[in-house]
Amino acid sequence: MQTLVAYVENKPGVLNRVASLARRLAINIDSLTVGPTENEEIARMTIVAHTDEKGAHRLEASLEKLVDVLLAENISERSLLERDLALIKVSADQQSRPHLMELIKVFRARVIDVAPESLILEVSGTVDKIDGLLEVLRPFGVLEMARTGRIAMTRGSDLLRPPGAPPNGAETEPAVKAS
């Protein structure tokens, strides 16, 4: 599994280009998250792909050839933090509820909705942690689940900023336009 970060133009059709490229290279995307950055013209993608280092290099180099992709980088080998967020609707009757609450505490999940027959939990963390919680919830009956897919960031001074962005992040000037 390889993790790439890409900064892209925040406009229609870009996601399609990125996804289409992965399809062409026969690389299966495990998760792809995209959202705006501090600069609303630029979006950041975290792509987790089923491929090896060579495939990730091709994906990265091919992505950067797209006009709308400002930067793409394979960060798999770097020191990084990954987070995934899940909402899980789980069956909860009077009997099982206390036991469930204990598990929720252990996993540092939060109950964000309570209904007579079910609860909705919110949990964030590494993929392993969420998978772990899911595993222990299964016997209670998982009714529905939504996951965001991974977002990732390199630690400390290892910065990955869009080209043209101010180095200290203090200013809000639009990115330098290439001619």
Binding site: N16, A61, K65, P163
Partner: protein, 570 residues
């Protein structure tokens, strides 16, 4: 100044230096055609939109500038797909402008509406829909920058009809391209450069693989200096032909599936390959497991995604070929290389005796004879535009190009039907040049409708049909690998000379070698286009041949030779 979107488009194209547009009108592009009529742009009416894209492509390849093709929405746009893909695979700067239904109808399956940007996404370098007149000038300017910068490629601009019709202020200065800011990557570390220098100066059996990138970057002069400074033999890719004179003793000729035997052997025996502006396509490497096992590799290439894609290299110098060569040149040391160059000469001697030119005149007309005579008669100075197949390989083997951009051919996509329209484009790019179409009887029948374009535009092109009554290259594969079961390859054709006459073009039919040169001469002397139907040996094959996926040094050689190797199913 208020102009309509259509007028802004024509004005912008004019300001960008465009003089010719190859296209076909239709409902969704009509406002643009109305504006075209009032502009100074020369519109060439094609007979099929595929032809328009090949013409723009041929124009780009012959000139080094951007070619422009135009079509209406729906079928007009979809007919362009093959031509766009052809340009993409050969990194040719083509800008395609398509009309689109009005923006309020987008997505409604309106008459002649098709999602052409969706369709062409993987076969364009970039594409974009424009639905506001205000965005037309900037988008077109950006399209030209994208098409002809870095590794060139086709760009499609799809303009809705309401954007063509709406009026807005036209301000050229304010519509400068605003492309997204890209990361400026360091192309290569000094350590890579030093390693390349060391490999270059220590190699005993070096060989340059010269590709299309040399032409694209305009590196011909520094490349020539580089080759002679290091006394380095050169092998050419098909699209590299012309970037280094064939007459130079260090030019060995073409490599690959139908490359010269001595070139392929030299590649397999080299201890260093210097790949410049080429991408180790499967047609030049053969089986990668056995490819150039002895050689270290230096790859000079502008496209990062090509590095280590097919062949793992020891030093990658990512950048413009001319800039990289200019930096390497002062560090390159001269070597005599007597043993290595002498060895290659010996390999060449072995091949010369098998050459088809040495075959006795048995009354049969061979395609190679036609090509060779054409080369001699045009003194190698013509722009030759080929189609795809056997004749294309014979052209590459027997027409010796000394000037860049004089061979125009579809390499990567291998598009049959390319030659005739591409030659029309090349002629508009180089009106003073002697332009020859070399085409098979199969490919010619795919786009022969463009003969009418030649007549309507009153241009002078010579057409040599290498007519063997077969889809020759496929027949050759059937002969070698399918036990001569010629399924769907025998080909009925019209009387091409009579067909030419019907279009108002002089037509000739040649069946014997004695008539070849005089007819070529007379065609050259004629002020009007001439089509010559050369009826050549039907079941001749292109030799040598590396079977697809086979090892580069295991070639099928021309029969009647003691060294013929047996063909096997790949």
């Amino acid at each position: 100044m208020k102009l309509t979107g259509a007028e802004i488009l024509c004005e912008s194209l004019t300001k960008l230096g465009v003089r010719h547009i190859f296209g076909y009108p239709g409902g969704a592009i009509l406002p643009v055609y109305d504006a075209l009529g009032k502009s100074k742009l020369h519109h060439i009416l094609v007979r099929h939109e595929q032809g328009a894209t090949h013409m723009a492509d041929g124009y780009a390849r012959a000139s080094g500038g951007v070619g422009v093709a135009m079509a209406t929405s729906g079928p007009g746009a979809t007919n362009m797909v093959t031509g766009i893909a052809t340009a993409m695979l050969d990194s040719s700067p083509v800008v395609c402008i398509t009309g689109q239904v009005s923006s309020k109808l987008l997505g409604s399956d309106a008459f002649q509406e098709i999602d052409i940007t969706g369709i062409t996404m993987p076969i364009t370098k970039h594409n974009v829909v424009v639905s506001r007149a205000e965005d037309i000038a900037r988008t077109v300017r950006e399209a030209f920058v994208i098409a002809n910068s870095g590794r060139p490629g086709p760009v499609l601009v799809d303009i809705t009809k309401d954007a063509q019709q709406a009026s807005c202020d036209f301000n050229w200065e304010a519509s400068a391209p605003k492309l997204p800011p890209k990361r400026q990557r360091i192309n290569y570390e000094p350590a890579d450069f030093e390693r390349a220098v060391e490999l270059l100066n220590n190699a005993k059996r070096p060989l340059i693989l010269a590709g299309h990138g040399i032409m694209v970057s305009g590196a011909m002069r520094v490349f020539d200096q580089f080759v002679h400074a290091g006394n380095l033999p050169v092998a050419m890719t098909l699209l590299g032909i012309g970037c280094f004179p064939a007459s130079d003793p260090l030019n060995l000729g073409m490599m690959g599936m139908h490359g010269e035997a001595w070139v392929n052997h030299a590649i397999q025996e080299a201890d260093l390959l210097i790949a410049v502006g080429m991408r180790f396509d499967d047609r030049v490497t053969g089986d990668l497991r056995t490819y150039a096992k002895e050689a270290r590799k230096i790859h000079i290439e502008i496209d990062r995604s090509e590095i280590n894609k097919n062949v793992k290299v020891d030093a990658a110098l990512i950048g413009d070929a001319r800039e990289v060569l200019e930096q390497l040149l002062p560090r390159l040391e001269h070597r005599e290389r007597g043993d290595w160059l002498g060895h290659i000469r010996e390999l060449k001697g072995d091949s010369a005796v098998r050459d088809i030119q040495g075959l006795p005149d048995n009354g049969h007309l061979y395609a190679a004879h036609v090509i060779n005579d054409l080369w001699k008669e045009t003194r190698g100075e013509a722009i030759v535009v080929t189609d795809v197949g056997q004749h294309q390989m014979w052209e590459a083997q027997y027409y010796h190009h000394n000037q860049p951009r004089t061979l125009v051919t579809s390499g990567g996509l291998g598009t049959m039907g390319f030659a005739l329209p591409a030659a029309i484009g090349a002629k508009f790019a180089k009106p003073e040049s002697d332009v020859w179409v070399v085409v098979g009887d199969g490919g010619f029948q795919m786009t022969m409708c463009e003969l009418a374009t030649i007549v309507q535009e009153k241009i002078k092109i010579n057409i040599a049909i290498i007519n063997n009554g077969f889809l020759g290259m496929v027949r050759q594969w059937q002969e070698f690998f399918y036990d001569k079961r010629y399924v769907a390859t025998p080909l009925v054709a019209p009387d091409f000379a009579a067909l030419a006459n019907a279009f108002g073009i002089r037509g000739e039919r040649i069946t014997s070698r004695a008539d070849v040169t005089p007819t070529i001469r007379s065609a050259r002397e004629s002020a009007e286009s001439v089509l010559i139907d050369f009826r050549v040996e039907q079941e001749d094959s292109v030799y040598p041949m590396v079977p697809a996926g086979g090892a580069l040094h295991e070639m099928i050689r021309r029969p009647d030779s003691p060294l013929v190797e047996t063909a096997t199913e790949p």
